[in-house]
Amino acid sequence: MNRVVISQIAPVTALGDGLDPLWQGLLAGKSGIAPLTRFNCENYISHYGACIDDLAVTSGGSLLDTILKRVALQLGDLPEDCRLLVASTKGEIDLLTSARRDGDDLPATVLAAPFLDKITRQFGITSKAININAACASSTIAVARAAALIAAGEADAVLVYAADLVSEFVFSGFSALQALSDQPCRPFDCQRNGLTLGEAGVAILLLSETAAQQRNETPLAYVSGWGMANDAHHVTAPARDGYGLIQACHQALSKSSIAPVDIAAINAHGTGTLYNDAMELTAFGSVFGESLPPLHGVKGSLGHCLGAAGGIEIAIGCRTLQEQILPPTVGCCDAEEAGQGKLQNVPQDISGDYLLCTNSGFGGINAAVILQRSR
C-alpha cells in the first residue's frame, strides 16, 4: 500500500482565507457565527449562521464561484495527472432558488456536469471530475476515496475540493425540521439544542509519497486509515448505539494498523444537536473505552459546513498534529458527562502521532479518516 501524503490545503471559511487565519482564530476561541443578513430569517427558528466575509456575486453567478476562486488563489501548481474529487451536497443551490423565485429558466449549473466542468477549469485539471454526495460525510468520504486510489497505486495525485453555502434552501429546511439552534450552537454541551449552519470551500491535495518527493512537497500529514459505514437505522436520526460510527472507526484503525490507544486526539462531527453528539460520545466510548483521547468539535466556530465539513476538519486536523495542540470546542461550557475532561473550551495540548476525524450525515452514513503526523 502506497503512503498517502496531504501536501496542500486551501480553506476559505467564516474565519478567513487560508489555514493560518483559520488556525489562529480557532486557537483564540473566535467564532464566525453571526446574525444572518443574506436572507430574511423572520420565519425561521434561528437568525444565525457562519458566513464567509465579502462573498461577492457576479451577475448570474453563484456565491460558490467566489469561494472557488479564493480557494484556487491559495493553491500551488498541481500535478499534470491530478484527478479531481468534488464533495458538495447542494452545489449552486442559490442559483436554483433565484431562478424559481424569479420564474427564470433553470440555470445549467444546477446539473452536476457543468458544475464539475467549472471546477476542473478553475484548477486546470484535465481529467473528468466526480462529485461524491453522501450528505455531511461527503468530503470525508472524498478524502478517503482519494487516499484509497493513491494507496492502491491507481493515482499519484488527487485534489479534493469541497464546498457548500449557507443558503436559504438548506436553512429553511433545517428550520422546518426544528434542527437549528436559536443561539450559536454548543457542540457537546449539556445545554445544546441544535446546529448552526456554516459555509466553506476547501481544497486538499493528496499525493503518493513518491510523487510528493519528486515535487519536493513537504507532507503536512499522512492519511493512514479510513472507514465508512451506514447505521441502517434511520434516514435523519443517528443510531443511538453509534453502530455505523463504531464500524467506521474500527475500519479506519484497522487500515492504519494501530490500536485505539494510539489516537492522540479526535476531531468529532459535533453538530450541536442532541442526538448526534450523544451518539458520537457513545460510539467513542465503545471504541476507546478508558483510553478516550482529548476530543473537540469546530462547529461552534465555523458552523456546520455540510458537505465541506469533513474537508475543513481534516485540514484543521493536519495542523493539530503538527502543532500538538487541539483547538477549543467553542460553545461547550458544560460538557456532556461522557466527554468531561476530554472536551474543553480552551486549547488542549496533545501528544501523539494520530488523529481521528469523523463525520456523520443524513442517510445514515458515517465516515472516519485517521491522519498521521509528519515528522
Binding site: N40, E42, N43, Y44, T89, K90, I93, L96, T97, R100, R101, D105, L106, A108, V110, L111, A112, A113, L116, D117, T120, K128, A129, I130, N131, I132, N133, A134, A135, S138, I141, A148, L149, A151, A152, E154, E168, F169, S172, G173, F174, S175, A176, L177, M228, A229, N230, D231, A232, H234, V235, Y243, G244, Q247, Q251, G361, F362, G363, G364, I365
Partner: protein, 237 residues
C-alpha cells in the same frame, strides 16, 4: 478487480422487475412511474408512500435487485454498500421543496420534502430496510456512461474494503424539458455485485475492471445499458 453480478432489479420506463423475470431491455426512453408500495413490498410499509418519486424509484430498484439476487431476507446487518450514479440527482425534489419554501418566505417549507433534497437519502431508506451497513453514496460525474462509473467504483470498493458486496446502479427521474437529451433512460436500475458467485441463485456472470474499462464474461462493454443487456443475455439493438 473482479466481482460477480448476482442480482439485477429496476424501476424504469419499461416497468419494474428483476432480471430473472423478463428478457426485455429495461433501459429505454419514456416516462417512469414511481411504484406503489404493493408493487414492491408485500408487507405494509408506512414510509414508502411518503417518499419522493426519486427515492421510491431508487428504493424500488434496490429492493427488486436484492430479491433477484436472493439477498432480500436478512436477520443480522450486512456490510453491503450502495453506489448510485445520478445525472440529475433529486432536482425534481429540490424544485418541489422550493415550491413550499418560496411562498410565505419559508414559513411553510416542508420538512418532509427537505429530507429528500439530499440524493443519498434513498440509500438510507434502503439501508434501514435491508440492513445494509456498507459505504453508501451518490456519484455525479461528467460522464456519458454514468452507470459504468458506479460499477467501477463498486469493483474498486470491493477490492479495497472488507465489503462482500456492493449494489451499483443508476437513479434518475426524467429531466426538466430544457435539459432533456436523446439518450435518456430514466429510472433506477441496480446490480448486486459480490466478491463470490451467489449460492442461492445462478450468477449472471463475472464483471471485471481492467484499467478504466469494464468487461463482462470476458467481453468489453461500452456503456451501462450494454452491460445490462449482456447480463440479460440479449442483443442490444
Amino acid at each position: 478487480m473482479k466481482g460477480w453480478i448476482n442480482g439485477i432489479g429496476w424501476v424504469t420506463a419499461a416497468g419494474y422487475s428483476g432480471g430473472r423475470s423478463t428478457d426485455q431491455q429495461p433501459l429505454c426512453s419514456g416516462s417512469v412511474v414511481a411504484p406503489k408500495r404493493k408493487q414492491i413490498f408485500d408487507k405494509p410499509d408506512l414510509r414508502f408512500g411518503r417518499l419522493d418519486e426519486f427515492s421510491r424509484i431508487g428504493l424500488g430498484a434496490i429492493a427488486l435487485c436484492l430479491r433477484d439476487g436472493g439477498a432480500e431476507e436478512w436477520s443480522d446487518k450486512r456490510q453491503i454498500g450502495i453506489v448510485a450514479a445520478s445525472r440529475y440527482g433529486c432536482l425534481a425534489t429540490d424544485i418541489g421543496y422550493l415550491e413550499t419554501m418560496i411562498p410565505n418566505s419559508g414559513a411553510l417549507a416542508s420538512p418532509k420534502l427537505f429530507v429528500y433534497t439530499l440524493p443519498n437519502s434513498f440509500l438510507g431508506e434502503a439501508a434501514l430496510r435491508f440492513g445494509l451497513t456498507g459505504n453508501t453514496l451518490v456519484l455525479n460525474q461528467e460522464d456519458e456512461t454514468a452507470g459504468l462509473a458506479a460499477v467501477r467504483f463498486a469493483l474498486e470498493d470491493l477490492s479495497w474494503s472488507e465489503q462482500p458486496a456492493v449494489l451499483a446502479g443508476i437513479c434518475d427521474l426524467a429531466p426538466p424539458v430544457e435539459f432533456a437529451r436523446a439518450d435518456e433512460y430514466p429510472g433506477g436500475l441496480f446490480m448486486l455485485i459480490e466478491k463470490e458467485p451467489a449460492s442461492a441463485v445462478a450468477s449472471y456472470g463475472e464483471v471485471e475492471l481492467r484499467g478504466d474499462d469494464i468487461f463482462f464474461a470476458g467481453h468489453q462493454v461500452a456503456d451501462f445499458r450494454s452491460l445490462v443487456g449482456e447480463c440479460l443475455g440479449m442483443l442490444i439493438r
